[in-house]
Symmetry: D2
Subunit: 289 residues, 4 copies
């Protein structure tokens, strides 16, 4: 029997340029569309009558991008998801995910340039909208950020942990803590007219400040503090999920060379890595989890 | 409030060499461990008493690898998962995932060499074990394969699909179909003493043959046929999930140069790509899904 | 002043399907074209009259691919390079590089399938042709292979090396030796009608066998033996350049757990890595080096 | 016969933390070392007496990093390269390359935090030092930057180019121009006591401003203008080499949907890509090229 199934288009790369005289704005997105619904006949009988081609999804993204600004990306994701459930009867659920890579203006002659840009790299702004069938009108909006690489060189320890015969790690009250943060938060249900860009900036700042200031006793400890601070300061957020790989920085043993290493020289390693994940939500657990 | 959470170690790279005189065997694994359980105090209060360090997980993998052969990887995953639930009271669930990259013997002097190997690249063998608390003894064993890149140049079309104002794709009864297959199957509950290596080889062959022979009317159509064939031929499998990104190969339009392209010259593209996913299971749906 | 300069197109992905009844053949190439010549006006004055667009290079590759088989890739590279020097007067040198990723037939019903393929991954076949101006007719043909990952678990040591105050490495007469081999060889000048495919297969086998059999005292030692063997057995080869990153496999210290590790359990690391490179050529040094 | 050869260690990942009370500084480097010299005996006879292990190179980097600040990286590269030629007689040439990934301070409470950092991603600062044998004392210092992704949405065209039967590209006077700039410049010989950090910042600004302001008639045209501006404004630079892949942004054809696309919606593509490279140097050509 056919179980859970979905199909869609990923990696739709889209750049929109908005021109206001000499001042241009750029948005650079990667969009993915995923549909669930009544697609059994395609799987079982090769009957494609209900299957909107993924090529059409791509065309739809470009065509709808021509209509108006893509800012904020949460609203663009919602427009797209709504489109697919409203126009195609077999679709029971549409999910649209967007990753935006920001461009910053180049400074030239002491001023931000109107039409030249630099990509800071790394960090992505994320948004997702999930819509059920048109009649119910239910929709969920998520926002987030990914690949936000952060490091603290103070206020981080790890001690008093469980030990067994395979434990060689020692307690430390001073270690480097680095991660590539991925945070995805879900807005309360009536989210469609929120100020997404301002909220994103505020939540990002809350995450960064809490990371910086926290007296960390473990990755878990700091992760939870970050999530808790977001829920405390941003009433629009119902739940936040945080993923924090532990990008280990190990002090180098220089004693064979008669050199002491006072927590100053580290080797950065990629593998293996700790991986810490948790959701933090308001007291009433969200319906979806 | 703290919601779903877990932590663990990923990217534990492990190579085991077994020596039988001049004939050596090599296994090359990447292991990840993930634990769920009673870790609220670590998150909320910075109390690490229940937290087994991820560094210890890594040590455990290497130490247990020294005890005996890692073949089959399904059994090694199960031993590891059992170890964590049985030895650490706060752990309510342990999941161990293994990706094996095979090495093949180099042919030298017309014979497979005893101690020199070539890595064919690409394809990975996957296994996972999930164990609940020790007392219940419940465990789930999955196996699979990933990054199996396959292509068919005949018996593949896509026509009769849904159309809307953004549809420009035309019906075709002769297109290239290529994908990077990921297949994960779940064994029936009493799986611990199955012949995992033989089963994997058989299921892989079923997947490949069905892909090759199928008269494909869509990716969905072929995906389902592949899953159905596995369930029909391999009674030990309860459910299989298949992920098939559509690696598009587009015929090049050579008409501007007065050259006809009789479905012979294609451009291979990476982005955007269709993404088709489905699970196929026996009539009684599996409890977990 | 303008110094050395070139321009071209890279990443031209090309798949050619040849159909012989039910038996199809597939070739999967990535082509790059690079031109040198009299392009000063474009740089200094923005005068593009001598600049053939890189988009045209791409079109040329696809159009010339429609004419005939792409096998062997050395000949296709040469045809392309010749085309650019012969048809565009400003071009003084054209270099075409090709990387081929092989597809193997899927076995179905005990036989290689006619139109279904599996990509073994990893290894690439490389070819390059460099042509000077048409009148001189000089051309150089290179072939090679890349990403050939190989490992030997016996007959490899490293001892008696130079030591200074920063040396902690110990002598060993039994270590794992692994590399991702890249080998590029240059054929003798009158190369255009060689049996490139057979030569490539033979040279690859010489490299693999020598790696397998060699009593290795260092990466350098084995690298040179491999290059020397190619020159000894394949008179058509004028020079070979080998690049062998040392993919370190370090024995895990299990003594803290009371477990001995008899050279059986290793951690595979990616960084840092040794990198060994050398060219081996016939006694009369090649003109180009 | 053994031809050109070298060996070394790559991917040495090094993080140095300097602590000044509550204010910490972080430097994050990847170092590679490459030696040339009298290593024939290792290749031909397996005699390692002249071979300093690459493991020792790694240790040396960490040990010398403990002595003092790594800023500027040009000086650290030079110290390391000098060390190897001065302390090991067989070494005739040592080259050390460094890629620095910058960390920026997190803003917290309106102020840059003393010990919490964010990695902006993308751009790398590059440095290299090449030293010959100790007696001659000759050294070359290069600096540069890589992965600097830039885009201009105005003042960029491409027209009047050469055409042949495979040309379909049309003239345009308004296209997007994007690249991932790599620029490496060589300092004049007496470079050891330059203000490397200030020079790097100035040269980077010259490159960015020229890119932004230039009335571009091709990538070549803008590349040359950028190199020329660096030589004009920075007398310390002897030569600069620029690599500019053309990251194509193609306007999407929305006419099938009755939508006009006034140069507003683009698809960003990765393959194929144009690749433009050139060196620009002072009138007297540099000795090395």
């Amino acid at each position: 029997m056919l179980g859970a199934n979905s199909y869609g288009k990923s990696g739709i790369r889209l750049v929109q340029v908005s021109r206001h005289g000499d001042r241009h704005d750029v948005q650079d997105l990667a969009v993915s569309v995923r549909l669930e619904g009544d697609f059994g006949a395609a799987h079982l009988a090769g009957d494609n009558a209900a299957v909107l081609p993924t090529d059409t999804m791509k065309n739809t993204v470009y065509a709808m991008a021509a209509e108006r600004s893509l800012e904020p990306i949460e609203a663009f994701a919602l427009r797209l998801a709504r489109h697919f459930v409203e126009t195609h009867a077999p679709v029971s659920l549409a999910r649209v995910e967007i990753a935006e890579r920001p461009w910053e203006r180049i400074e030239a002659g002491g001023r931000p340039h109107g039409s030249a840009f630099r990509r800071p790299g790394g960090e992505a702004r994320l948004a997702a909208a999930t819509c059920g069938r048109a009649e119910s009108g239910e929709a969920s909006i998520e926002a987030g950020l990914g690949d936000l690489v952060i490091l603290k060189t103070a206020r981080s320890g790890f001690s008093g942990f469980a030990r067994d015969r395979f434990t060689t790690l020692r307690d430390t009250d001073d270690r480097l803590l680095a991660t590539a943060l991925r945070a995805i938060w879900t807005y309360e249900c009536d989210a469609a007219d929120l100020s997404f860009a301002a909220l994103r900036a505020g939540i990002r700042q809350t995450l960064l400040e809490t990371f910086a200031e926290h007296e960390s006793r473990s990755v878990q400890h700091t992760l939870y503090a970050m999530g808790e601070a977001v829920l405390e300061r941003h009433a629009e957020v119902r739940e936040i999920r945080l993923t924090m790989p532990n990008k280990h920085h190990l002090p180098v043993d220089l004693s064979p060379f008669g050199i002491s290493n006072a927590n100053a020289v580290f080797v950065a390693t990629e593998e293996p890595y700790g991986l810490i994940e948790a959701a933090v939500h308001r007291t009433a657990p969200p319906a979806r989890s």
